[in-house]
Structure formats: structure tokens, C-alpha cells
């Protein structure tokens, strides 16, 4: 086993901000219970008190609809909502706040692009290039767009180690490729994709690039200007924020040219009996009452992440991942997927010989360990791997080396239950 991770985070102090992490599970008269080890952060993260308090404050002190009222409360609410937009803008280094669209989440963000940009720009025979490691939310909207427009979905393969087969990228990028849509970090393998060179190569070939950053923005410093991304999508709930809010970043000239997605209030300049004239971005893409409190909560989450330091969080996760790889590799019959801790973030998926992922997850739960089991909304990837289901442990800033070790101990116990040596 490697030495204890060199982490600069004061995890004990951080954990005090997350009351839910003090949960004791399975307590009864006979059983003292077990402490929760929350290792399901790729699915959703927990919230610190600072974020919960920000949401309480909105509802107790500042809440009204935004961009509507002439009254004082509406101005308060609007200011906080627009301040949240500027906070997101700075966090990912976008050029203007108008390039930040609040959505309900990554899924809606990608659907917005596929519907709006896709329907306006894709023609029969055009190509959409995805990768074999995409989440369903970055697959299905493009399959739907292909059905509507006659475009073709192509798949950049992965290597057996779980990296993108970038040697084949030029083969797959053709003069018909209009958009490359890929994930920043695989939600199963943890693979961190080299976005900057991929985006540069796609641009040289005349294609746009959408980055699914649901597993990226929460865990690594993201600079859309440096990356040159055309579209980038992520969710609040995977970065200590509330559920129900997500972000679409898009370059301003793209947003100006794109038709609106959802129609309704807010997204118009004027409406007549003959038709409507859309508003400018970002309002153009925010029909109806937006996720006001969730967006303000997301701003508080960004404050928290910046206070802790995104680079320090990334280093902490790498150390936990390296430890998890060591622990899991030392157990007979356990196979860890993905390219290894140097090239993967805080996500470690594994299989155990002849024990199904759901049985593993259920028995880990008995030890208080929360993981995800199944195909993790990445069925094409699992087909490529030849696996029906995998078990995934995923880390964040509040996880500890002791929790990683507990995972190893619990897996040994599962093997005992299944009468394996």
C-alpha cells in the first residue's frame, strides 16, 4: 500500500460543514449502526451548510420572480440571480455573462444545443462525432437530432485501457463532421480527456465542440477561453449546489445565431398576434421562471469550492483514487477499470469475479458505504467493455483515506459472504 495521501485539505474541518456526513446507518436496538461513507459523488454530491443557508436566505429574505416586478423584492431577487450568473462566468472564465445560460441541468443544456443549434445547422449526411465513453445525456439528444435532420452519428472508439483512441481521431473527423460532443471526464472510467488538443483539431477540421463537463467543472479548473470550447454543459448538484440548476456555456456569436429552444415568457422582446421576436441572450434561452433559488445556491457552492480551492480538491481526489487503486488491486478477483489514477479523476469503477454489481452495492450498503452499481447511464460503454454492470466509487473533497480503506475491508467481507477465497 502506498503512503497516506499528501492532501492539503483539512478534511475533518470541511466535513463539519456537511451535517449529512455524520449520518449513522442501520442503527437498531441490537446494532450500534455504521457511519455513512458517501462514495457516490459522481451521481450527486452533498451540500455544505453554507449552500443550504444561502437557499434559506433567498426564501426568507429575498425571493420574488426575477426580471418582472418593479417592486423591491423582485429587484433583490434579480440582483442575486444575475450575480450568480456572473459568478459562474468568472468560475469558468467565460468572456461575458450573456454566455451563461441557466438550465435545469447538463441534460437540458445538451438538449438545448441539439434542438436549437442542431436543427438549424445539421443537414442530411452531416456527421455528429461522439465517443464510446459518453453518458446517455450526451448520446440520446444527438440520436434524436440525427433522426430529425438526417445527420449521422459516428463514434470515436476507446482503447482497452479506457482512453479515447486519439490516434484514430483524424480518421473519424471528416469534412462532414459538424460537431464533436464529448465528455471532459468519463463518469464510469474516470478518464480525464485531453480537451484542448481535441478541440483544436476539431476546429481545424471545421467542426464545433460541445463538452459535457458534468464530471469536469466540479473537479478540475475549467477555463472555457483557454480550451476554446464552443459549448460546455454542467450541473449544480454535482458540485455542492442544489439540484434543478445547470449551466450551458456557449460562445456569444453562436447564441446570437441560434433560434430559441423553449418558448414562453422572458425569452421574447415582444409578442403580437402575428408572431414573436426573441430577446437577446441569455434571456432568449431562459423561457419561463428560471431556477432562481437553485442558481443562487449554485453561486454559494462556487464560493465554497473557490474558498477550498479547485486545484487542492483535484489533488485530494487524485490521492484518494490512487489509494483506491492500491487497495482494490491488492484484492484477488477484483478488476479495476480505466486508465489508472494518473489519468483519471476521483472515479474508480470495478468488477468482482462472479459477484454482480448489485449484490456488491447492497452488501457495501450494509457497511454504510454508498456506491453506484449498474451501467451508470453509459450502456454503449458497458457494451464496449463487455460488462452488463459495474460498481463505481466516486470521491469528493470531504472523503477520507479511511473511507477508501473501509471500502477495501468491506469488499473482503463481501467475498466471505459469497464464500470466496
Amino acid at each position: 500500500m502506498s503512503a497516506a495521501p499528501s492532501s492539503h485539505l483539512d478534511v475533518t474541518r470541511l466535513r463539519a460543514d456537511f451535517p449529512i456526513l455524520r449520518t449513522i446507518l442501520h442503527k437498531s436496538d441490537q446494532n450500534p449502526g455504521v457511519p455513512l461513507a458517501y462514495l457516490d459523488n459522481a451521481a450527486t454530491t452533498q451540500r455544505p451548510r453554507q449552500v443550504v443557508q444561502a437557499i434559506v436566505d433567498v426564501y426568507e429574505k429575498h425571493y420574488a420572480n426575477v426580471h418582472r416586478g418593479i417592486h423591491w423584492l423582485s429587484e433583490q431577487s434579480t440582483d442575486l440571480y444575475e450575480e450568480a450568473r456572473r459568478k459562474v462566468q468568472t468560475f469558468i472564465a467565460a468572456a461575458q455573462p450573456e454566455e451563461i445560460i441557466f438550465t435545469r441541468g447538463t441534460t437540458e443544456s445538451i438538449n438545448l444545443v441539439a434542438r436549437s443549434w442542431g436543427d438549424a445547422n445539421l443537414k442530411p449526411g452531416d456527421e455528429i462525432l461522439l465517443t464510446e465513453m459518453e453518458h446517455h445525456s450526451n448520446i440520446v439528444p444527438w440520436q434524436q437530432a440525427a433522426e430529425r435532420t438526417g445527420a449521422i452519428v459516428r463514434w470515436l472508439p476507446i482503447t482497452d485501457e479506457g482512453r479515447l483512441a486519439l490516434g484514430a481521431f483524424d480518421q473519424f473527423l471528416s469534412s462532414r463532421t459538424r460537431i464533436v460532443a464529448l465528455t471532459a471526464v468519463s463518469n464510469v472510467l474516470g478518464t480525464i480527456n485531453p480537451l484542448a488538443p481535441i478541440i483544436a483539431a476539431a476546429h481545424r477540421g471545421g467542426a464545433l465542440v460541445l463538452v459535457d463537463a458534468a464530471q469536469g467543472v466540479p473537479h478540475q479548473k475549467t477555463d472555457v477561453a483557454a480550451l476554446g470550447a464552443d459549448f460546455l454543459a454542467f450541473s449544480g448538484h454535482k458540485m455542492l449546489g442544489p439540484s434543478g440548476v445547470g449551466v450551458l456555456y456557449a460562445r456569444r456569436e453562436l447564441l446570437d445565431a441560434m433560434p430559441p429552444f423553449l418558448g414562453g415568457g422572458s425569452m421574447i422582446r415582444r409578442v403580437t398576434t402575428e408572431g414573436f421576436e426573441p430577446a437577446d441572450p441569455p434571456a432568449k434561452f431562459e423561457a419561463g421562471t428560471p431556477p432562481i433559488a437553485p442558481a443562487i445556491g449554485l453561486a454559494a457552492a462556487i464560493d465554497y469550492l473557490e474558498h477550498v480551492g479547485v486545484d487542492a480538491i483535484a489533488a485530494h481526489e487524485r490521492a484518494l483514487s490512487a489509494r483506491a487503486h492500491d487497495v482494490l488491486h491488492s484484492i484477488d478477483g477484483v478488476r479495476v477499470l480505466g486508465p489508472g489514477p494518473e489519468q483519471s479523476g476521483g472515479i474508480v469503477s470495478f468488477v468482482i469475479d462472479r459477484i454482480h454489481a448489485h449484490d456488491i452495492a447492497q452488501l457495501l450498503d450494509r457497511q454504510g458505504i454508498a456506491v453506484r452499481a449498474g451501467h451508470h447511464c453509459a450502456m454503449p460503454l458497458h457494451k464496449r467493455l463487455g460488462l452488463a454492470a459495474t460498481t463505481r466509487a466516486s470521491f469528493y473533497l470531504y472523503n477520507t483515506p479511511e473511507e477508501v480503506d473501509a471500502l477495501g475491508t468491506a469488499i473482503e467481507e463481501i467475498k466471505r459472504v459469497f464464500r470466496r477465497k
Partner: protein, 137 residues
């Protein structure tokens, strides 16, 4: 005994590790395959039915968790030699009782996957099989 201890008891693990009649059924007249798309569990059941509706033989195959596979094995063991009317009368509650261990609602679905497969299989004659044309109803 906790739910998990009950679930992963020797009787169930034995059926998981050394299942009864896993494979393909010689002379199958009826067959059906079901999947639980949420977890990827798959169960296929093949039956050889006599003209009088008796189950001469029953086999399962599939992939999935301990519960879905062990319950398929338990179900095959129970059904060989029985009559179609017995299958139709065999309710979901009967299946959960046969399985024995208490299950959370989510994992009841795993346990009932083979049972659902069987209930459809008896109405699904094999087209190109060597079947003797028995129609169950």
C-alpha cells in the same frame, strides 16, 4: 438476522453458484426471454411441454445478480413435473415465498424477473422447435 444475512444465506448462494437446470432445454416447445433494463438482468426460460400440459422439462439461462439467478434456479426446480395450471396459479406472492428471504421492493423486481419470464414463456411456443404443437390454452 438482518435482511442481508437472510438474503445471502447458503440456500440462496447454493442456487446462485450451482444452479438447477441452467442451460438450454432439450426438445423445448416454449421459450421466452425477459430483461430488467434498469439493472441489465436477463433471464431466458425454455420449457418442454407434454401434450397434456405437463412440464416435462424446464431450463433457464441468463445473467444478473444473485437474486434473479437464484430465484430462476428455485423456480425451475419447483416447476419441473408440474402442470400448466399450476404455473398459472403460481402467484407473485408464491414466488416471493419460494425465494424465502425478505426483500426490499427494489430487489423484489429481481426476484420476480424469472417468474414473469415463466408466465410469458408458457404462452410462447417455439416457432421452429421440435415442439409437438401443444398450445397451453
Amino acid at each position: 438476522m438482518t435482511l442481508d444475512d437472510e438474503l445471502y444465506q447458503d440456500r440462496i448462494l447454493d442456487h446462485y453458484e450451482e444452479p438447477f437446470h441452467r442451460g438450454s432445454c432439450p426438445g423445448a416447445t416454449h421459450a421466452h426471454e425477459e430483461e430488467n433494463p434498469l439493472c441489465g438482468d436477463v433471464v431466458r426460460i425454455e420449457l418442454a411441454l407434454e401434450p397434456d400440459g405437463r412440464i416435462r422439462d424446464a431450463f433457464f439461462d441468463g445473467e444478473g445478480c444473485c437474486i434473479s439467478q437464484a430465484s430462476a434456479s428455485l423456480l425451475m426446480e419447483r416447476m419441473v413435473g408440474k402442470h400448466l395450471d399450476d404455473v398459472k396459479r403460481f402467484s407473485a406472492e408464491d414466488m416471493l415465498e419460494l425465494f424465502g428471504a425478505r426483500l426490499t421492493p427494489n430487489r423484489q423486481k429481481c426476484c420476480l424477473l424469472p417468474w414473469r419470464t415463466l408466465q410469458t414463456a408458457i404462452f410462447s411456443p417455439v416457432e421452429s422447435g421440435t415442439g409437438d404443437g401443444t398450445k397451453p390454452d
